[in-house]
Amino acid sequence: MLLDYLRLEIRRTLRDTGFVVLGIGMPVLMYLLFTNLGASGDDAAGYKLSAMVGMAAYGALGAALGTGGAVAEDRSTGWLRQLRVTPLSPRQVVTGRAMSGSVTVLPAIAAVLAAGALVNGVRMDAWQWTVLVLLLWLGALPFTLLGLGNGYRLSTQVTGIANMICTMGLAIVGGLWFPTELFPGWLRTVSDYTPAHSFADLGWSTTAGTAPGATTLVVLFVWLLLFGAYAARSYRRSARTV
């Protein structure tokens, strides 16, 4: 039953032109533009690698938050209410949503990594590719929860705006678009504690061939708890009105 729901929601997400163009196409396009315009010399290879992780993380971030937009839409169309009069339990519906949200981050990750490997000639060990995909996939969970929190709380339009602000804000401050080395010192410090930076750092440490640092893991875990609590609160609040 849960699997059926998961399949249905994944199918609906992949049919969303906006999701495919903006969610998958955008990060790939930005990655290819950033790395092939201007970057040259010794740094180029390193930049192609670090930007690949950054843009894959950005794509995953956007897709994860996008789950919230879908939830807001399902609330407004009455689909969530209709589900409440089927044998599916509310728990299964939320779990299914969180899982489908997790799955739909994969195309964006895969697309950017493919662009890195095939177009930009990024080379890594096989285990690094595997671990990179796995960590970016799992690490996106806090953002799925943040998206769900927005989607269960806000109207469709407001959710769209909130998700866009969150995606852009977190991506920029987290150093997913431009390396934090270019930031002023204070912003760099702030950036270290943002969820998106910790998320991408999972990937950067993998490409560097090391395990993620303790700070990164702790920061990301704290954000997971915070966003999880936010999602739970929003969900409970909406359960009365859905």
């Binding site: 689909w79 209709q82 009069v85 089927t86 044998p87």
Partner: protein
Amino acid sequence: MTKTTPAVDLSAVVRAFPSVRAVDGIDLTIERGETVALLGRNGAGKSTTISLLLGLDEPDEGAVRLFGTTPELAVRKGQVGAMLQDGRPISRVTVRELVTFVGRAYPKPMPVAEALALAGLAEVADRRVDRLSGGQVQRVRFALALAGNPELIVLDEPTAALDVEARRTFWESMRGYARRGNTVLFSTHYLQEADANADRIVVIDRGRIVADGSAQDLKRRAGGTLVSFDLAGRDSGWLDTLPGVTAVEIRGERAGLRSEDSDATVMALAGRGAIRGLRVEGTSLESAFLALTAGEDAIAETTGTTRLTAATDLMESL
């Protein structure tokens, strides 16, 4: 659970919102296999009653049981299917995918093709729900209610968005489903629909049940027959003493008598020679409904004048 457990059992159910007691003490038992119409004006409390019945809302007082258990549990066990009001189409999914998914959530669904055929969707099965017409979307909702082959289906204003032809096909499908021995509860504010499609009509007004029975019962309860004649200058004071008369209304030169026993009333009028322009009409379900929902003040009024005036106002508001 035995065969005798009713499908629906509401006892002394109350649901109050800050501005209104939407459901104000409702007792309602629906046996398995019955087709029941919940009839009332807009805002009478139909949708709130249905929400409570489906477990989408909790009553402030009283108890709701479906098949002897809580609505939540009955829904989880797949005994209930529902067609809700006010939904917009679900996006990016085909009719067949959606009906298949909902059906599979139930323990003993009907074959998808059958659900699609019953709802009249066979031809649009592979089209996306968000690209269908309003009437077709309404049929998709109906298909979702019956896809799981539940014992009870609850339809909240199922024909609200349909044109005449679509309405006719819809009721045919609904009766087809009811004939299989299923229990159906639907709400409507169309009298004809209730009359034509339900075994039993429950009239709800201001959160209370004001009548419960067959269409015939309702007509009887509303005062049977209307006997009218020209007064031709006569005084009218004696009319309410005639046998069978329950209410009198004078409009200009014409007197209208509501009668439980029109034969006796007519004989008595004839005995007094008051038969100019005499007319005897059976009460329509329409006027029965209006009389029933005219409200407490009007019902308390014995002369019936207020009652009929209130009914006229209502006629306009309907």
